[in-house]
Symmetry: C2
Subunit: 113 residues, 2 copies
Amino acid sequence: MSASPAPGVVEVCGALADDTRWQVLQLVGTEALSASELAERLPVSRQAIARHLGVLAAAGLVEPERAGKQLRYRAIGARLSLLAQQLDAIGRGWDARLERLKAIAEAEAGTAR
Amino acid sequence: MSASPAPGVVEVCGALADDTRWQVLQLVGTEALSASELAERLPVSRQAIARHLGVLAAAGLVEPERAGKQLRYRAIGARLSLLAQQLDAIGRGWDARLERLKAIAEAEAGTAR
DNA sequence: CCGATCTGCAACTGATATGTTGCATCAAGG
DNA sequence: CCTTGATGCAACATATCAGTTGCAGATCGG
């Protein structure tokens, strides 16, 4: 019914709106890492990393996997691709509306003359 | 050199990380509107709308066009589609790396046996 | 059982973003 | 010239977020 921008888009974009989280994603996109391991590679505390991982997991961009004592996270590319698909559809909708308006304007000019 | 997520992505995602800005985009994606006109349709003040339009314009998601005394904005779908393309490429990269790791693991198992 | 290590929860601080109100400015029309 | 309506700038209050430190709990190795 609603022409709203689909549920979850705002949340996922918010998760992607932080520089530190992109650094986390870049590392986790290469290999599964725990919060402690990420804290060793990034200039922030382990707890800050854990919070970022929580945000990313809530957005579906990462998923945890147990590895004995520690909890490693890996990036979910499909979630990012899904967002990309949604955004592209919205963007095409805007431009399509513009094209249609232009076409109507030209048609009006044609019939009026 | 860097495998960084391309310049501007974080900024554009930040612009898309607010609910009010999505409402603005939805309206401006249908027809070009000024800050005052948007303020009439949304439950926030004109100045707040103007700030949001500034953020969206800085991200390239909207563009102003003069209409006599007032300044109307229209949504730029191409900018959103460009972001979508960048995000999809990154997402596919993550999954591709995963697939490659799985393939290597299987090959290792094969040669080792 | 005990020490070491990794994870989880809570409180606190500083920065940033959203939204407001008020005032200044500038163009169009009578 | 003066009024009207629109934009632009600035100060302010509030809320949320990123980051820190401190401590408690859980889990593996000896």
